[in-house]
Each structure stands twice: as C-alpha cells, then as structure tokens.
Symmetry: C2
Subunit: 119 residues, 2 copies
Amino acid sequence: MRLRYKVWLEHEELGKAFGDGPLELLDRVERSGSLRQAAADMGMSYNKAWHLMRKLEKAIGFPLLECRSGGPHGGGSVITPRARELMAHYRRFREQVAQSLAELYRRNFADFGWLDKPG
Amino acid sequence: MRLRYKVWLEHEELGKAFGDGPLELLDRVERSGSLRQAAADMGMSYNKAWHLMRKLEKAIGFPLLECRSGGPHGGGSVITPRARELMAHYRRFREQVAQSLAELYRRNFADFGWLDKPG
C-alpha cells in the first residue's frame, strides 16, 4: 500500500495555473532554449505548449517566457526572472509536500501494518 | 489562486484502495444501515458500490462490511470495527493533510501576492 497524490495551483476562473507538468515544460525550455524543443521532448505539439503557456501566464498574472531573436542559433525562448522564481518556489513546495505527506501517512496508518508490505 | 489536491491510498496491483469517495460511501452505510441506500444517495448503482467494496476489501486486506439479516427492517449492512478504525484514521489524516498543505502553500507562495486576491 502507498499514498498517492496530486497537487496543483488553480485559478478560480481559468482553471489550472501551475503544476508538475508546467514545471517540467519550463525546466526543459530553460535547458534547451526552445519551447518547440521542450514540447517535442514531452510529446506535446508546439501549438498545445504555446496555448498552455499563454493560459498559465494569464492565470498567474506575469510572463513566463520571453522570445530572443537572432544570435548564432536563430533565437528561441528564455525563462523570465519571475518564472524562475516561481519554479524555485514550486519545486521547494513540492519537496515539502512530499515530506509532509509521507510523514502524515506513516503517523496515521502505521497501525494497519500496510506500510512495509509489498502490495 | 488556490491550492488544489487529491490524495488516496493505492495498492500496487489492485489500484485505488481508499480515499474520499469510499469514506463517504462507508459514512453513509453507517448512517443508513444499507449499502443500497448509501449508493443511491451518491448516485451510484448498487452493483457498482458492491464491486467497489469487494475491491477495497481485497486491497486493504480486511472486511469493511458485514451483512445483518432479519430484524424489523429486514437486515442490511453494518460497518466492521476495523472499517470504523480505518475511517477514523483516514479522516484524521485528511484533516492533517489539509492543514499541512495550506501552511506549505502560504509559506512558499506568499511572496507572489496571489493568496488573498480573488481569482
């Protein structure tokens, strides 16, 4: 037996605003310098990734990506400083959530003898 | 902006083993004394509720319901003592999860000024 969970940030009207998927996409943009490449690596169309970014930006209220034109590789996408800040906060939040839920699971269900049994 | 989450207990092979839905169903069985009534109140077929109970019992490894036959109302379903214990632990776990996640959300995202804004 094990604990499973999902967490995400949600805008009251616009729906999902940030979560593990967007974090992974932004991480990949940061490494590759390209939203197109990041989307492809996650099996997502560029069109879908682009719309997702616009929706997230609207929900959180600040830009996540900036376009850089020119340069030796013909430009690409760059993470904004506030996006980087959000990513760092969300990553830390996710780690603390994982620790806290594992501890609460142990504390509340240890009596049932499930915890170390496979299955 | 707000935090959303889902938590549940999962058996490695059998899938979902306990969560908010099963807790509500058992709560209703406890109050009504009838799985059929409890299922109907949740808009679920008796057949579905019955299969769900058998699956949960298999996953957690002990019986949740006992049938009582006879009596003035023609018998019904009764929660087992271990089911009651599981329900109490799960309810406490859910409360602690809610408190902990609200606190972690405040701690990590207070800087973004989202917390008290509607939307």
